[in-house]
Amino acid sequence: MHTLNYTLIVVGIGSALLGIISGALGTYAVLRRQSLLGDAISHAALPGIALAFLLTGSKTPLILVFGAAMAGWVGTLLILSIVKLTRIKYDSALGLVLSTFFGFGLVLHTLIQRNGNANQAGLDTFLFGQAASLLERDVLTIGILGGIALLIMSLFWKELKLLVFDEGFATSIGLPVRALDILLTSLLTVAIVLGLQAVGAVLMSAMLVAPAVAARQWTDRLGHMVLIAALFGAIAGVSGTVLSSSASRLPTGPTIVLCATLFVGFSFALAPNRGLVWHWVRHRRDKEHLKLAASRSVKEIWKRKELTRLQSTPTDKYISKK
């Protein structure tokens, strides 16, 4: 009993941290319309994990995360150079790199499993994620690397904000836009590869996008949006983990993502100002007001016409008589 609780606590903390990191950094991805880039990076990271394992034979989280980050980074670089050097458009380049890297990753995984290495168990959690497999050292890695990523984000707060809002103006005042762009993408990569073990490559991008999209419905300030997205991410992470560990054989990644999606639906429906219910109520109210105003003004016009008729008729007669 005691050990079970302890495991659940470790896993819960790990998922909460992941939610915070991916929620906060995902905000930038959503605002820059780079949600798909997150998807490409997470898929591209898969062969990196397999290669890191093949080369070192170790499953130390730091090594696997490093491999994933390298592969994700190479994938991103490849996307950018394809766009720059060929006439292939951004979305096609994304699809190309995403599927090629992912396919390569799957092949490597199959190879590793065929080899029957006793140590290979657990590598396939990177596909669909298994938060239950998070150990204390994994959580420590997530906490430290994620903490550094968030710290960098807050250090470069105003620069990153300006980069996302108005890149041209940022360049004109001398910000190194290229470098900041690379920095932001690297932070995104860190968030993604940290989440791979718990959420999996296939669905990781949803962890970046869903909390941020939900948070956008509740606020009009970037700072608040980052905080709310982090909070939603954390709650989704914890509730997803708890749900998947209480029901038998529910995969964690999809459960976490479903929880995050619930937040999106809830926010779209109920958030003030932007929510659908709010819109509907306001629409109804405006319509009523309009109707009222319209009927009033119609009455008013009639009254005036009547009045002018009454006033003008005798005068006209009087004038015409004269």
């Binding site: 105003k158 108005d166 001398g174 009009d220």
Partner: protein, 248 residues
């Protein structure tokens, strides 16, 4: 000595050529802008007006040529240059408010890691007052009309406290009242000895608003004082003879 001082130019563009994928958008442009003028850049769509502004600001890399601001390359003169981009170049649904956008004009002088504080807030409020938007300081930017967005961008440039201003279509999508307010502001800047370069679309207002003009259509057709250069002949050259509404 005195002669030389008189010849200092606010902006000096020499042999500037810019190409996008081997197609020239600006060809061999020379432009001298003396300090303290209000200059309109006019020309048809695709003439390279925006590109010229961006090339001066170093936002696009020229294939050839040189740009000097007060005798030095732009990277050394950033602090004395203010920029108003096209309103449509940003996503106005970005989660922030008016005051915050205006304070972005101070980021250049603030430098790394420092956040805007009370001084920046005050400067921003002053600038908002100048464009008649102080009541909108806390307004979310997605709720602004086109003219209000334009004035917010103008206020952001004002807090840059520059000597040279480059503005890309500040009258675009603006109603008549706002246009008059913006013109008054530009003329006030010129009265203070600042140099203002404006990408402009409406030919009929050039003589009223500006004292200098540049006619551009990939090549420079003419540039200089409005009364000398804004001639039917030059306009015909710029627009290819389709300026029927110009009756000079």
């Amino acid at each position: 000595m005195t002669n030389e001082i008189n010849e200092i130019k606010a902006i000096e563009v020499t042999d500037l050529t810019v190409a996008y994928q081997e197609k020239p958008v600006l060809w061999d442009i020379d432009l001298d802008v003396p300090p303290g003028v209000l200059l309109a850049i006019v020309g048809p769509n695709g003439a390279g007006k925006t590109t010229l502004i961006k090339a001066i600001l170093g936002l696009v890399r020229p294939a050839a040529g040189r740009v000097l601001i007060y005798d030095k390359p732009y990277p050394l003169q950033r602090r004395i240059v203010g920029y108003v981009p096209q309103r449509g170049s940003v996503d106005w649904d970005f989660p922030t408010n008016v005051l915050d956008v205006v304070m972005m004009g101070r980021y250049g002088s603030l430098g790394w890691f420092r956040r805007p504080g009370k001084a920046e807030r005050e400067l921003a409020m002053n600038a908002l007052e100048k464009v008649g938007m102080q009541a909108y300081a806390d307004r979310q930017i997605s709720q602004l009309s086109g003219g209000q967005q334009q004035r917010v961008f103008l206020a952001r440039a004002l807090v840059q406290d520059a000597t040279v201003y480059l503005m890309d279509e500040p009258f675009q999508g603006v109603d008549a009242t706002t246009e008059r307010a913006i013109v008054a502001l530009l003329q006030e800047l010129r009265a203070k000895g600042k140099t203002v370069v404006v990408v402009h679309h409406a030919l009929q207002t050039v003589t009223d608003y500006f004292d200098w003009v540049m006619l551009l259509n990939i090549r420079r057709i003419a540039s200089g004082p409005v009364e000398e250069m804004f001639t039917p002949d030059n306009l015909r050259q710029t627009y290819g003879g389709r300026v029927a509404f110009m009756k000079n």
